[in-house]
């Protein structure tokens, strides 16, 4: 049997066996990081805790829609957290795409899962190689409630420069991903 990353293994056990020990392992890894992300985004401690609770319960309840052939655990949880954050901040449900029908069998295409994991690892190393300035812009683009014009206000750089820098940073990420496709 091919072995996947720890996180994928935990998540598959949660999905297929409703394993609480594996859920605990996911909780211990992600809950403190989610809390860090939320508090950096301006959530107070109590509000952040509420969102962490909702997100981790969604991870348990929506586990059936986790598909390692398409997404890595952290990206899947990120997206749940982001939707929840928007629900809380804007008091509205964020529009989400129609879910794809899940395959009837829970057999995983091991090669595809490993492919996704390898691609994501490449992406991570690309992110790790960004210089601090680029890294900050990528973080703002992906994590902040910032629009491009808000970024301009914060850094005092002209909008055009920021836009092209974000694109350059992204392009590097994209190329890194594409090389593996």
């Amino acid at each position: 049997k091919t072995s996947f990353s720890e996180q994928t293994e935990w998540m598959l056990k949660v999905r297929d066996q409703r394993c609480k020990t594996s859920f605990g392992a996911l909780f211990d890894h992600f809950a403190p990081r989610l809390r860090g992300m939320l508090m950096k985004n301006g959530f107070g401690a109590a509000q952040a805790d509420d969102v962490v609770q909702d997100v981790m319960l969604s991870v348990w309840r929506k586990a059936a829609s986790f598909n390692p052939e398409r997404a890595e655990v952290s990206g899947w949880i990120f997206q749940i957290a982001r939707n929840r954050q928007i629900d809380v901040i804007r008091k509205e449900r964020r529009p989400v795409p129609e879910e794809l029908a899940m395959p009837e069998s829970t057999d995983v295409d091991g090669e595809q899962v490993l492919g996704v994991e390898q691609e994501t690892a490449k992406l991570r190393s690309a992110i790790a190689r960004l210089n601090p300035e680029q890294r900050e812009l990528v973080e703002k683009a992906y994590l902040g409630e910032f629009t491009h014009s808000e970024i301009r206000d914060q850094t005092g750089l002209p909008l055009g420069t920021i836009k092209s820098r974000i694109r350059l940073g992204l392009e590097r990420l994209r190329h890194e991903l594409k090389g593996e496709r």
């Binding site: 909780f27 403190p32 989610l34 992300m37 319960l57 997404a71 997206q79 795409p97 994501t120 992406l123």
Partner: protein, 211 residues
């Protein structure tokens, strides 16, 4: 699935993933991704960036109390509501706004109808239906406009747009999309500023029509 040639720009996908995209545009993105495999894959790549950043965050200790609360919730019998399904024309996120019913069309002049799905401070999102051979009424935008074709096709200065295609237009674009012959062209159109249709009715009446 027919070939889609005009997709969601990367910058718009990033904004969608980060949550900073205004709701009307987020609806168009969600509707497009519902019917476009390419952009669904692109979205997954962007979410992977978010996931990598999340994984990198400095952990902040979580109380045992919170852990206990979450574990206590695992055995709750929560029935998630069945997700809304899309139809051959309207993708799921649009059907959701229509509450599962057919759109109620209002005339916008000869050969053009609209059905406003949402209008608010963040902008508006509507369905437009243009009869074969007719033009979308002459208009300008105060900001960004994203248009997703759901049925039929139109042509304008930017090219040909058929089911699944997205046209991005901004403030200074004055385009005159014309529906092709065949089926009426139905589009989902989002703007972050009120659309101004010219010469259709006195400006004073516009608030009544919410355009």
């Amino acid at each position: 699935m027919t070939e889609i040639s005009h997709h969601i720009p990367q910058s718009v996908l990033t904004a969608y993933v980060s949550g900073s995209l205004a709701r009307p545009f987020a609806l168009v993105v969600a509707a497009h991704i519902s019917i476009c495999e390419d952009c669904r894959a692109e979205l997954a790549a962007h979410e992977a960036v978010g996931g990598a950043l999340l994984d990198d965050f400095d952990p902040i200790m979580v109380s045992d109390d919170l852990r206990d609360r979450v574990f206590a919730g695992l055995d709750d019998d929560i029935v998630e509501p069945a997700p809304v399904k899309g139809t051959a024309v309207y993708p799921a996120p649009v059907m959701e706004l229509l509450n599962g019913k057919a759109p109620k069309w209002r005339s916008l002049g000869p050969g053009a109808k609209q059905c406003i799905l949402e209008a608010g401070e963040a902008g508006s999102v509507r369905l437009l239906q243009i009869a074969p051979g007719f033009e979308v009424p002459d208009h300008t935008h105060g900001g960004l406009e994203l248009t997703l074709v759901l049925q039929g096709a139109f042509k304008d200065e930017g090219g040909r747009f058929a089911r699944g295609d997205v046209e991005v237009a901004d403030d200074d674009v004055e385009h005159t999309p014309r529906a092709e012959m065949g089926e009426p062209c139905i589009c989902l159109a989002a703007t972050d500023a009120p659309l101004e249709f010219k010469g259709l009715m006195p400006r004073l009446l516009q608030p009544l029509f919410r355009i």
